[in-house]
Subunit: 352 residues, 2 copies
């Protein structure tokens, strides 16, 4: 007997609920004739958390999430809550920390179907297929002291050995399953934490003699992501640099509305979310691109539940709508979120 998987749904803000609805509808279609059983547990979070429960990360949500098999998030934040002392983003930082989601995995892949969408010339992006492994629960995001005073302000970048060691193992293991090439990104010609980062990368790397290592300074890496993205496989980088570089990497695909991501904990559930934001400017119009959320759900099926066949159905439906240009305005199409979703569902039903 298969157990029922508990999926916590954080539906998010602005376009968040719109794409979450779409992603879950496609999941339902793809699991119709399957034994995979799941339960969806709605919980308030982000701006929605503030509105429904008075906090971007209510204690009840963290309790539920800790007992789940996976956490599914859409996108949070927006002008409605920007002037609050605890903003939606604060909830995101805290859920990462409380679920111990220390590794954030962001794939950058440019397929031949999508190559024309890139702002880069095709000869620069072709064959791009790398993954950024971003440290997610330490570094500049969590270091203490952090002070905002009247005449000065301070942030602290902090890393200890255990934090850097575990993210390195994560990255090197991933490289072993891919093309056995790790790129360490830091600013070790200036920052002490980066010198430390590079030293541990070196040590951990010795345990993976089959994996090649190279090193980039973060500034030079922004150039290489544009000038030779196809040369990378697994990029391991501290929290703040990972935030910056993964957005740049998303942009070279020209398809930020399509990219999923995964944050990995040590024992608890993984968290899955599209990499884009809550797009307040287009919210409520029914035109948000559902692809990222469908890909995010597929990523969850593969990584948390090993349900590759169901994920493949969902991904095939995404390929189908892209090839036939059944897409939303951000991709040059004329369809609504719901129309695109129905096309995906129809495709899945037809091919079973």
């Amino acid at each position: 007997m298969t157990s029922v998987k508990k999926i916590v749904v954080l539906k998010g803000d602005y376009i968040g609920p719109e794409i979450m609805t779409a992603g879950l509808a496609v999941l339902e279609a793809a699991t119709r004739n399957e034994t995979f059983a799941y339960e969806l547990i709605d919980a308030p979070f982000g701006g929605d958390g503030i509105d429904r429960a008075g906090d971007p990360l209510p204690q009840s949500t963290i309790n539920i999430a800790k007992q789940a098999d996976a956490v599914l998030l859409s996108a949070i934040g927006g002008p409605k809550w920007d002037n609050m002392s605890r903003r939606p983003e604060q909830g995101l930082l805290e859920i990462r920390s409380q679920l111990n989601l220390f590794a954030n995995i962001r794939p950058t892949k440019v397929t031949s179907v999508q190559i024309d969408r890139s702002p880069l010339k095709p000869e620069y992006v072709k064959n791009t297929d790398f993954v950024i492994v971003r440290e997610l629960t330490s570094g500049a995001y969590f270091g203490k002291p952090r002070k905002l005073e009247e005449h000065q302000a301070i942030d602290t970048i902090y890393y200890n050995e255990q934090e850097v060691t575990r993210i390195m193992h994560q990255g090197f293991k991933l490289a072993q399953k891919r093309h056995k090439h790790v790129t360490i990104v830091d600013k070790s010609n200036v920052l002490a934490t980066s010198k430390f980062w590079r030293k541990i990368a070196n040590e951990v790397g010795k345990n993976y003699p089959d994996v090649a290592i190279d090193y980039y300074y973060v500034d030079a890496m922004t150039m290489a992501i544009m000038s030779k993205p196809a040369t990378f496989d697994v990029v391991i980088t501290p929290n703040l640099f990972g935030d910056i570089l993964s957005d740049e990497a998303a942009q070279i695909t020209g398809s930020i509305g399509q990219i999923p991501s995964m944050s990995i904990g040590e024992n608890g559930p993984n968290l899955y979310e599209p990499i884009h934001g809550s797009a307040p400017d287009i919210a409520g119009q029914g035109i948000a691109n559902p692809i990222s959320m469908v890909n995010t759900v597929a990523m969850m099926l593969i990584e948390s539940f090993d349900e590759k066949r169901i994920a493949a159905k969902m991904i095939a439906s995404v390929d189908y709508i892209i090839k036939n240009h059944y897409v939303t305005p951000d991709m040059g199409g004329v369809m609504t979120t719901d129309e695109v979703t129905q096309k995906m569902i129809a495709y899945i039903k037809k091919h079973e």
Copy 2:
């Protein structure tokens, strides 16, 4: 009577001396029939400082620089000194700090002549013409404590009111001379120093009612630099983000071997340098691209000495060699550094 301008020459490492020689030769040609009088003062610095005087920033060099009218630097650092406790880069950080060079100005311009060199599709880069104003003597580069211990490491990001206020005025004043549009880049949804940065930007901005302001998070900015670079005019950003974003911006021109930069002090001399590094891989082969250094000297003539006509001669000679494809291998040409330099000199002599 015009006074003789004192220019301190820090010839640098690897390709540094090769391009410095070229830049100074073109300067000599361009000033032949002019009243502009200058004296070049060679001083050890960077790797060359370690080799000739035992330190990347010898006290004698700092003394000389403080009394100069301008400081001209090529590029420093490289594998020869990478394992030293005081590396060449340390000298660079210290000269910035000791000369109080708080604002680093890096132009990003894509002309119609150069548009094909960009890795971006022409429709994305056309009309790009913006300037990054990077804070250069505080932030993550200089904050204390900075500790590299056996099991942990710490860096500090620090900003005070005076530091942020002066860089803001610098940026807003520049915008008034340009297209009256300032973009503030920070990570104020996470960092205290960025919240502080944005607050002061807002206050200082009130003194410049003719200048429009907008705000980007640094991660989103890496996307915008690729997807809509022509929408920016003056970008003001903290030290670390400026390091990262200015390299990305350089890459969209596809011409990093051509871009000059200027660092501005409060009372002392400005420092001028190309934005690229010392390229150890091609040093000694006589094929380094001299264009960045010629543009750097031209920038110095304009900004420190108001010698626009001489600078115009130099810039015209650069346009000439690019148009005629008299260029080094990095630009797809077959000429040596010296051959390109002679072409520039011949052009200048012929057109006087």
